[in-house]
């Protein structure tokens, strides 16, 4: 049981014309106040769906089941009025590519002020000064509040987005690809800003990115998603530098340094495409692309197992791979006794 956010057995299914498409398939996440958790994965792994599901922002065609406990209260069971009150106050979102996430015809000051007024965070006569304060907090002069989004650079827009997310002093910030569209230098600045804010205010942050190195630089813990599931979860340093799941190691190898948009769609060295969510392969869903797949992988869909539990009987890392399961020694690639006949096509 975690204090801030506790997601249990989350399933999200999109109703499509050609049948149901599962996007998230049984996801568990936990986050304490003041902690930062990273969620990594390719496009289509379901990580952005998770971000939207946390505040029930998915379109009506998405069916969401499971539990999303935000400070002990189940978001999925909330009435609309309560949900609206929780949005932005309980948790706010820093969206990806701030160009399209800001209303192009509204002044940014008004957009930042909007939740302040809506939720009654400050008295009406203090709204303007609070907006100025927020802008300065993210390193923008207060005078920019009269600008429209297109008058700002990409980095500036992302800062505005962060200022907006901070407006109602939420306990949780969800950063969905917050630095993706930015180039390396700006990315580093924004990451430093986010890290600083978490340290200063003690809020929790859920950071979603395809870029494992960004998460490694920012987060305490990292969860790696593949095809709607978490395949590895643990302290950021360990997951990035000593990945246990073959997919995590491929992802980690794909991002030797911060920000390389070229490798966004398919991590380098990883053949094939992510599975068709409407028709996943049997057994372990990563099997068709896995370099160390064994015959057992075609039948066993491994749950998250503790990694290296034999050291002291407990572990803070878990991975969903038969190679790290009970009775198997060693991490990925150390599975000598299992034949690797079923490799990728």
């Amino acid at each position: 049981m975690s204090g801030l956010l506790d997601v249990r057995d989350l399933h999200v299914t999109y109703a499509g014309s050609g049948g149901d498409v599962p996007a998230v398939r049984g996801l568990d996440l936990a986050l304490d106040p003041g902690d930062t958790l990273g969620v990594a994965g390719e496009s289509g792994s379901g990580k952005s769906t998770v971000a939207l599901a946390l505040l029930r922002l998915l379109p009506a065609t998405a069916r969401v089941t499971g539990h999303i406990l935000l400070e002990g209260e189940d978001v999925l069971g909330m009435k609309w009025g309560r949900l609206r009150a929780v949005r932005w106050v309980g948790a706010s979102v820093v969206f990806q590519g701030a160009m399209h996430s800001l209303n192009p015809v509204q002044r940014i000051g008004d957009q930042i002020a909007e939740p302040l007024i809506l939720h009654g965070t400050v008295r009406p006569n203090q709204v303007a000064s609070r907006v100025a304060e927020l802008l300065e907090q993210v390193g923008l002069p207060a005078s920019r509040s009269r600008d429209h989004p297109h008058q700002l650079s990409g980095g500036q827009r992302q800062r505005v987005m962060i200022a907006m997310a901070l407006a109602c002093e939420p306990r949780l910030i969800i950063a969905d690809e917050a630095t993706t569209a930015l180039d390396v230098m700006i990315q580093a600045q924004i990451l430093a800003l986010l890290r600083g804010l978490v340290e200063e205010t003690g809020i929790g942050m859920l950071m979603i990115s395809h870029d494992l190195s960004v998460l490694a630089a920012t987060c305490d813990r990292v969860a790696v998603m593949y095809a709607g599931r978490i395949v590895e979860e643990g302290p950021a340093r360990d997951v990035v530098h000593r990945p246990a799941h073959p997919y995590a190691s491929a992802l980690s190898a794909a991002f030797p340094k911060i920000g390389d948009p070229a490798s966004r769609l398919a991590p380098r060295g990883l053949p094939g495409d992510p599975p068709d969510p409407a028709d996943p392969p049997s057994g372990c869903v990563f099997r068709p692309r896995c370099a160390v797949a064994a015959s057992v992988c075609a039948t066993v869909d491994p749950p998250l197992w503790p990694v290296h539990p034999e050291n002291d009987g407990r572990s803070d890392r878990r991975a969903a791979c038969v190679h790290v399961g009970p009775g198997v020694a060693g991490g990925a690639g150390g599975a000598g006794e299992i034949s690797t006949e079923e490799t990728s096509r």
Binding site: S17, P59, A60, T61
Partner: protein, 321 residues
């Protein structure tokens, strides 16, 4: 040869023997079938189609059950402005002619003018649109100039009040059905030109046009063989919508007295009703039916056009698609 195999079947000797042209024809036939099935699912579109077929058959077969002599002012069978009765289901006009017969007969002129005016404007619009689109994307300096001049002219026509232009044309040219067709055809083409130009630009960006050009295809070849067939579906939907516009325009011109007074058209009937004082006298059976006829036909064409559009471009269909 055995029964024709669908393109989805695995290649057989039959397929090898068949010429590419036959294959293309089979593929086209299948696409047409798919289109028809998708169209049949559109209820509004089917309603429009059914009502158009009914009206079309009535208009074509009118001489079989209506004696044209009864439609002349002198040979009218009834008394002046008789209310609806068993003999005259929609009453009579001020000359004693059956309003129902007038309307069925009027469909002939209204539909003819609507279709021919549409043909004129669609031809004009398609020519202008393809030329502007083609030379705008791949012409030299002169081509680009031609393209931008065409678009300027199109925009100019687009902005001008259509009715004023059509009325002015009809006023200065000799009276007659041909003038009406020309007046409408020459004024309602700009939207088609814009649409076709946009579609042409989209088609020309596709690889097969690039290939045709690389193989030495001239402007006429590219426009006629590659662009035109791919623009046709859009043009077809637009045509259906334009017929509605043209039929309303025809009735409007006739109502303003621009039509040929000797022919019977729906707008002409309404104009006669107005000048005979039927409006302030409240003779509803003289006024309601012709307008309803125009509205039903225009609506039917519109519904068909929208159904075409939505079948070809599902995004327009709305709903959570």
């Amino acid at each position: 040869m055995s029964a024709p195999t669908g393109p989805t079947d695995t290649p057989t000797t039959d397929d090898v023997v068949r010429s590419p042209r036959a294959l293309a024809r089979a593929r086209r036939r299948e696409a047409l079938g798919r289109f028809a099935r998708a169209y049949a699912r559109n209820r509004a579109g089917m309603f429009g189609l059914a009502s158009l077929l009914t009206i079309g058959v009535l208009a074509l077969t009118a001489p079989l059950f209506i004696d044209p002599a009864h439609l002349t002012v002198t040979g009218a069978p009834g008394g002046s402005l008789e209310p609806p009765s068993a003999e005259f289901p929609l009453g009579t006009d001020n000359f004693g002619r059956s309003v129902l017969d007038l309307i069925i007969w009027g469909a002939r002129v209204s539909l003819t003018v609507g279709l021919l005016a549409t043909f004129v404007s669609v031809t004009l619009g398609t020519l202008a649109g393809i030329t502007a689109g083609h030379f705008g994307s791949s012409g030299g300096l002169a081509g680009r100039l031609v393209s931008s001049v065409i678009m300027r002219v199109t925009d100019w026509f687009l902005v001008l009040p259509t009715l004023v232009l059509a009325v002015a044309l009809a006023a200065v040219l000799p009276r007659g059905t041909g003038t009406i067709i020309l007046a409408i055809g020459l004024t309602v083409w700009p939207p088609t030109a814009r649409l076709v130009r946009a579609q042409t630009l989209a088609v020309e960006a596709r690889p097969f046009v690039e290939r045709a050009r690389a193989l030495g295809g001239g402007h006429a070849h590219v426009m006629g063989w590659h662009v035109l067939p791919n623009v046709m579906p859009v043009v077809l939907a637009q045509t259906t919508l334009l017929v509605a516009t043209s039929i309303i325009a025809e009735s409007t011109l006739a109502f303003l007295g621009m039509g040929d007074p000797t022919t019977i058209s729906w707008g002409g009937i309404l104009q006669a009703a107005r000048t005979s004082g039927a409006i302030s006298a409240g003779i509803w059976w003289y006024i309601v039916p012709p307008g309803l006829a125009i509205a039903v036909v225009a609506l039917s064409f519109t519904l068909c056009g929208r159904a075409f559009e939505s079948v070809m471009n599902p995004r327009l269909r709305g709903g959570s698609g």
